[in-house]
């Protein structure tokens, strides 16, 4: 009984540490955060924190691992509707924008690591993210081959989808200034979604022509 109770308390503190570390890493980057900052944010001592995590870098890796889990969980939307490009892209964009809205710190930690050249996580990105992206690109190319959508470079399209959705998390401070408000609200995200969906569908979908099947030589 006691071990269970202890274990629960232990896991709660461990999770609190990971959450606080994520928030601080997102804001100031790896080098801008000390173990003392994180410890104080959860009301513990730095030494206690080092009891749960063997080193600062190990803690950072755990944070990044969790961030990658969340990032990838919003990325499988394309494969959900393998025969309907329009609906698949609508859901993909909506999902990635929901990620930016619901998990801005995850987005920022990931962005910080990528901007730095992914010094610590290049291997994990190559193993987990790239295959996921390539799967999406493959789905895209199949649509184009089947005549379900226009021929566009799926790899650059994926880049554009990340960029246009994650910017609403990573750049929210500057976007708020542009929009003249303290922070982004639901209406702003709805406006963003509307524009991005409009752009992507105009680019990717074939011009509707239910009568004829071929236009270019």
């Amino acid at each position: 009984m006691k071990p269970i109770k202890f274990s629960v308390a232990r896991e709660k503190l461990e999770q609190d540490i990971l959450d606080a570390a994520k928030r601080l890493f997102a804001q100031r980057g790896y080098g801008g955060v000390s173990l003392d900052h994180i410890a104080k944010a959860v009301g513990a001592s730095k030494q206690n924190l080092l009891y749960y995590f063997p080193s600062k870098e190990a803690l950072y890796r755990r944070v990044l691992h969790g961030v990658l889990d969340v990032w990838l969980s919003y990325m499988d939307a394309l494969s959900q509707r393998p025969d309907d490009p329009e609906q698949a892209l609508r859901e993909y964009i909506a999902g990635k924008l929901r990620f930016s809205r619901e998990h801005p710190d995850d987005s920022r930690v990931y962005a910080n690591e990528v901007i730095s050249g992914a010094p610590i996580f290049a291997a994990e990105i190559a193993e987990r993210v790239i295959p996921s992206v390539q799967a999406d690109v493959a789905i895209f190319n199949r649509w184009a081959e089947c005549g379900l959508c226009r021929q566009v470079d799926g790899r650059h399209l994926m880049v554009l989808l990340w960029a246009s959705t994650q910017v609403y998390a990573d750049w929210s401070s500057q976007i708020s200034l542009v929009l003249g408000k303290q922070e982004l609200d639901e209406a702003d995200f709805a406006a963003a979604e509307s524009l991005i969906v409009d752009m992507v569908l105009r680019t990717v979908l074939l011009p509707s022509r239910p009568d004829h099947g071929d236009a270019t030589p």
Copy 2:
């Protein structure tokens, strides 16, 4: 004569320090870089560096100031062709992509500062960037009013233009992984430009109809 010679040498070292600091701040963020790192990168001592700049934060501000100059110098393309939306947008996108290709570290320093919530540069961004953006948005709205382009939210369009172009500097490490090469080359930037221009023009330009003036009720 001597004062001039000294002055020249002084300005050269000062510029070397700023360049090295920019590169390191881009890679590791403000907190991840020490004065010693920067000093060693230019072959000087940390004390000597503090002779040229009164403090680390003052040096960072000088770097950010220069970054903002470059960033803004690529942003006035819209006003150059106030009567030709298509050409103006083509040049704006090409210019911002050239910025990402020619000044990736400037882009990353700026991105790092914005992701952190612009703790140091919020005031300067509000004073210099926001008016520039609002000028672009105003040009855009005028085009829409004059019937030169479709009615889209100029503010979100500007966000999308930054995001889709800067991502090729800030996220180059991950994009390289996706494209399966060591670093991005001219052809990759050309492909990006082609896709972004295509998307934006499809979204913004009116459907060509030289015969009639109204389609929607």
